[in-house]
Structures are given as C-alpha cells and as structure tokens.
Symmetry: C2
Subunit: 446 residues, 2 copies
C-alpha cells in the first residue's frame, strides 16, 4: 500500500470509526458467539498473495464485530470504564506515524520531554504535592506506564531493591535471598488482584489487612499486623493503599495509614487506578488527602479521563528509587547526554524497554477539552440541569419542592412536611421525580 492508497483508505477508515461509534448504541453490547467461533471463519494460514483492502474491511463486520464486546456502548456496565475520545484517537494516528521507540531521551527527545511535562500538567490538575513533579529539577517526576498492574509492580520492585540495599549496608553478610525470605508487603483485603500478583512476581510475601465496615484499610489494623510480623522476625517494607477499590470504590484511610508508613520506613504506594481521575475536580480533591505521605502514586487516565488505553499515570517522589532499581547501561543504548543529570531515560522506569509516544494523547485531550471540559466530563451534570428539573417538577404541580445551595451546588430539597404523609406518598413522589429527571436528561441530549 503506497501513500496515495493510504490517503484514500485512511479516510474510509476514519468514516468507519465515526460510523461505528455513532451507531454503537444499536449494537448488542455482549456477543452471542461461543468459544472457538472465529477459527472456522478464516483461513488456516496467511495468504501467499495479498488480499485486497475491500476483502479486509468487509471481514471486519462479518468476522470481527460479531465477537466484539462493545466497551464503548452506553449499555456496557461490566468491569470498569475505559476511555475513548476523538482527540486521543487523532493523537494515536500521529503516534503511529512517528513510530519512535522512546526508551531514552536521545531515542526521541520530544517523546521523553512531552511526557515529563504532560505528567506535570496532570499532577498540577490533581494538586499533587510539588515533590511529585519534575518541574524545577526536583527529585520527583511522572511516567506513563501501560497499566496500573505495572505501576504497582514497579513500585514494589523499587521498594524491594531499596530495602535490600539498606539492610545489606547495615549487615554485609546478608544475602538477597535471606532478606527476601522475610520481606512482607501489605494491602487491604479489598485491593485489586494485581497487587497480590505483584507480590508473587516479586517473590515476597503479600499480606491482606482486614478492611473495616466501610471496606477501608485503617491505621489500627495495619499497625497490628506490623507489630505481629516484626515480632515474628519479618521485615515489613511496602504498603499498597487503594483509593477507589474495584469491588465497591471504597477508600483506604490515607491519613491514618500514611504516617505509619513514614514512621516505620515503609514504601507507600497509592493505587487510584479508577477513581483518580475525579481528583481533578476541587470538590473531590479531599479524597486524595494523605498523598503527601506516599512514595508513589498512580491512576489511569485511560479509565476515566478520556485518554485511550494505554495511559497509566505514575508519579514518584524520588526518581532515583525507580530508575536505579535495575539500572543497566549497555553501550548500544548509551547516549552523550545520559549522565548530564538533566535528562530522563524512561527505560529505567518501567518493565519493557520499548515505549510508544503516548503523551501525545494526553496533550491532545488536555488541550481540546481544557481542564474545565475534563471536570465537566467527570461531573456529568450541572447546576443547570438541576434547576431545569426543579422547574419542571414545580410546573407539573403534582408535588412541591424548594431548592437550596450547598456551597456552589444547586440542590433539590425533599422534606417530609405534612402530618399525613405515608411511605406510599414518598414512593409516588420518587417515581414522579425519576420521570421528570428522565425527561430533562433526554431534552439535554438533543
């Protein structure tokens, strides 16, 4: 395919993509196929001679789409949200064309530097403590990982290296294996399975701290486990706290857990994979309080911040903790700037060597939505809608309400007033409110 055919086919593909997403509501969200459906539909081996593009595009509807679970259908409520936006898709097209492998600064300076600055932009949106930012050549900074699983694993491995070095400096006769035998990491019993998996991969014990009635890890439960394990000769070194668990979006108590980690010299990693996007709204930012105690923090813009997968944002307070954990410098990856102290070689920050130019997606999305647009997307609702709902309810005159303001939020007040009100009246009123709300939302969408 030469570039003139690509111009034609690329534009057809743009239309296919737009048609797919415009019509996605009409597709069945979960496919009917049974395991093994696809193999009989396609040849047993690659064709010797080229197929035409028409053949392929026709096969998408015949072979692929019947087996697709449509994650961007408005009827998809499984697993977790995964981001999709047109600006991110445009950026990915550019990323594919540039096609650089940004493992070091020299491998494509723009790729590394835009990532560092975009991670600062995002950190500022979240009001992360300045210690996590790369601006002003501090010790911290951000990196795009492929997934929260990798962020957790990198944090655990960096913490493991750090504690081993510390203990070997104190007692040079200790072997790595002798230390690893006794290392213990902790997370709540509500943490994502990837935390337990990081422990298995890292070859260290991972203990689940029983969560409280709100499914939160509390300081007292953590402290109790630490005391018991230290008394048994074990070496606590790492705590993964979750903000927004997978099961019920519960929040570990950072303000209790954080100071304990600092006092006991444990690496504190915060996994806010799903909920983290909400912290760009000032009214939700308090949920991140306590991040100042953490060594590393991670959330996924590819879940809820309109940046297509993969884009998992991770910050550390000390870049060197990550970058030096498994630093290897073969000659063929060296470049003249690498020891200047002014540059970042992201290959030291992650499991793989290769990496795409993923910050382009952040740049396009942040600029084309603006911070206000992103906040509005998280809120998905406004005072205006609430005001319209109140007006519609009061115009219909079946029930009667008055509003109030809670700080800057317009709120509909529902007070039980009359002496004669029964449960049935409240239920009727609630059904009526739901109907009116559906009408308002439908009017909004037009």
């Amino acid at each position: 395919m030469n570039s003139s055919e690509f111009r034609r086919r690329g534009k057809e593909m743009v239309d296919y993509v737009a048609n797919y997403l415009e019509g996605i509501e009409g597709r069945q969200v979960y496919p009917d196929v049974e395991p093994g459906y696809l193999r009989p539909l396609i040849p047993a081996a690659a064709p010797q001679e080229p197929d035409t593009f028409e053949d392929i595009i026709n096969d998408i509807e015949k072979i692929i789409m019947p087996g697709v679970t449509h994650w961007h259908s408005p009827y998809f409520f499984a697993y977790f949200p995964t981001a999709s936006s047109y600006p991110a898709m445009l950026a990915d097209m550019l990323c594919g064309a540039i096609g650089c492998i940004g493992f070091s600064w020299a491998a494509s300076p723009a790729c590394t530097e835009l990532e560092t600055v975009m991670m600062d932009w995002l950190g500022k949106m979240l009001e992360l403590p300045e210690a996590f930012l790369a601006v002003k050549a501090g010790e911290g900074g951000g990196v795009i990982q492929g997934s929260a699983s990798e962020a957790t694993l990198m944090a655990l491995l960096a913490a493991r290296t750090k504690v081993i070095h510390r203990l070997q400096a104190e007692s040079p006769e200790l072997t790595q294996a002798a230390i690893m035998e006794n290392l213990v990491a902790y997370s709540s019993d509500q943490a994502h399975s990837s935390v337990e998996r990081a422990g298995l991969i890292g070859g260290v014990k991972l203990k689940a701290i029983p969560s409280d009635g709100n499914f939160a890890m509390r300081g007292s439960a953590l402290q109790e486990a630490l005391e018991r394990d230290k008394a048994a000769g074990l070496i606590p070194f790492f705590v993964a706290a979750t903000l927004g668990t997978t099961t019920c979006c519960s929040f570990d108590n950072l303000l209790e857990v954080g100071p304990i980690c600092n006092k006991e010299d444990l690496w504190l990693h915060i996994d806010a994979a799903y909920a983290g996007s909400a912290f760009i709204c000032p009214e939700f930012r308090h949920l991140l309080n306590g991040v100042e105690f953490a060594d590393s923090f991670n959330f996924n813009p590819h879940k809820w911040l309109l940046v297509n997968f993969d884009c998992s944002a991770m910050w550390v307070k000390k870049r060197a903790d990550l970058a030096n954990a498994f630093r290897l410098d073969p000659t063929y990856l060296k470049h003249s700037h690498q020891d200047s102290g002014f540059i970042t070689d992201y290959r030291h920050w992650q499991i793989p060597l290769g990496r795409r130019f993923r910050s382009l997606k952040m740049w396009f999305v942040f600029r084309m939505y603006g911070v206000k647009g992103l906040q509005a997307y998280i809120r998905k609702g406004s005072n205006k809608v609430n005001e319209a709902l109140l007006q519609r309810i009061n115009n219909a005159k079946k029930i009667h309400l008055v509003p109030c303001h809670l700080r800057d939020k317009f709120v509909l007040r529902f007070a039980i007033c009359s002496r004669t009100v029964e449960s049935v009246h409240v239920q009727v009123a609630w059904e009526h409110i739901k109907e009116m709300a559906a009408d308002v939302l439908q009017a909004e969408r037009k």
Copy 2:
C-alpha cells in the same frame, strides 16, 4: 469534538501522516535540540478552556517535530529497525475505535481469538514445530507481548515458579526463598541487557556464558558452567539463547545448547527479537533449527515484519506453564466459560492486566502483503536486480564478470584471474561495482 468534526479532522490527520512519511527523507534524522528544549515552548499547566485543533496541529511542527528522532527516515541506522506500514496504521485506527481491553475471552472474544489464530498463522510462516501452535487444542500457543523484555521476563518467571514447585514437591520443608537463593539462569555474554534485567527483577542469579570467536554460546561452555555451579550446590533452571544478538547479529548454537537444556531439565527460552522475522523465508529458516528443544520462543514483528510497535510474538509449548505461574481469579474478572478448557484468558500470560486489540495489526499486514510480499520485504532484493547489475557492469566494459547460480540465487562471480592483477585493480573494480550498484538501485526506486 463530535463525530462530524472527527470525520473532518481525522481525514486531515491521514493527510498529515502521509505527508510526514512521504517527506521524511528530507527531515534531519537526529534533532538539534538540547535537553529541556520543550518545557519553555509550552504552557506550565493545561489550559482551562479548550484550545482549537488548529492550534494543536500547528504546534506539532513547531514543538514536537524539532525534537523527534525520525526512526522511519531512510538515514536512521541507530539502535534497531522498528516496523511501520500503512496497513498496520489502519488497523491501529480500528483498534482505537473498538477500544476493548482484552484481558479475558469474555472481555472481547474476537480480540482473544484473532490473536490465537494470528499467532498460529505466524507460527506456520516460521514453520514452528506444531507443539508451539494452539491449533487442534494441543498444549501450546502464542501470545502478543508488548516487548521482548516482557517475553523474557515472563519465561524466566514461569520457569522460576515451575522449578520451585518441583523442588517443594520433592522436599516440602524448602522455602521459596531458600530455593531462590540457589537458582541460576544463564545466557551468553552477548545477550541483550533485558535478559540480565529479567534476572534482577526475578531475584535470581543470571550468569553470562563466555561466547566463542563468532560471539555464539556453545554447548561446551554452557555444560562447563552447569557442572561448576551444580558442584557448588546451585540449581540451574533457565537458559536464554539469542538468535541474532544486538551487538553483531550472532547466533547461539541451538543444536548444541538445546539438547543440554532438555537433558538437564532447564527451561530454554529463545530470544530472536530482531532476526526472527527472517525465518519466514525458506532460505533463512535453517537458522531456527533447534527451536524444537525450546520451551518458549519470541521475536518482534514490530521490528522487521511491518507490524507497528507494539507486537512481540511469543510462543510456549505448554500454555499452562505461563498461565498458571501467577494465576489469580478474583470474582470481578470471572466469566462463565473460563473453566471450560476451550478458551484463553491472556491476562494470565503477561505482566499487565489490560491489553489492546493488537492482533488486528497482524491480520491487516499479513493479508495486505501476503506471505510472498513479506518475504520479498525481508529479502529486499531479487535475482532481477543482480541480473541488471551484471548487465550494466558488462555493458560498461570497464571490468568483466560472469555470473553463477548458487541453488536459486543469481550470483555475480568475482575471480582474481590475470597474472598482473594488484590490490589497486581490485579496489578500482570494487569502486566501479559500487557505483553501478547505486545506479541500479536508484533506477529500481523510480
């Protein structure tokens, strides 16, 4: 951005991509920028209100391109090739639109099943032993990893789990750490740094076997290390052999190393990241002989087989070795088919949980090039070009050559014939041949 704006902007981006790649020869391959060039060029924080798309597209040439190392410039000879083709870019557009996260079969059956079948297609192109294929519900199969580093790490971790389970079954009193203390993995001293890094991450010793005069790992050197280490009480468990080293594309001797690994019950992983694509040509396939001794094999279609990054192809003889190494099954990831034995949940095969629909790129590329087109791309030359070169040389009558056939290859024979020939004549002849060859190649490109 709504879908009608995406239709317009997407088509503009298609043209931008085609223009970029058509004109890439004219861009300076390595940028002039100094570390830190980008930050002063863009605002310190994300804009509150949206920027326009025009602003962004203009900034690509102003801010991004001056800092790009152009990996697809024909003057880029650094690091390694990274694949780029229009069919792969079209497939990536579709991948972005579908935007599914294919961690399990149910998460998008088409995503999992196309991957399994594409890995079989590619395995057949390489004439991999059937034990590595998933067809016919054997024990083997393929998976797309993000990078060769991840493939090596997954193989090492799976081997580590396997040997620990085996030794604990024999001696239940042995702790994991006590075993890990003595585990040793091996690779040639020419292996890529990612192999050493996998050892560091996995917490096991990785020893470098001295390579021979051709930079190849030989059986005798490996056997010697094994004997010495076993005598010292260590436990050899893993060997990473390289086909096509980064430094000089040397090949470890699989036919010597493989049988030793099998006899000693060591996991043999083959890393052919760069060179592996060549094995689709029958005349290069012999370089893969010995793969039948391996437990896992990996190469990167995203290097030399026209499938844009990331697409690292990995096969294992026993799926269960990978999938059961760190298997965790939280309720929120379960689905009704998972224990049927008929499906693949790729999340167990890799480090991250999330994964994109990367097999679409393989499908588009394999179909639009056909196996013959891919082979022609690897060969990048033909008998026809050689014949044209000979004709041009003999027409110019400055030197005189005759051809021969070596099997099906048309070869230009250069024989030292005259009694009076000196070194200077050979040098003049060689300069003349190079000039003629450049003319032939330039004529080809028109």
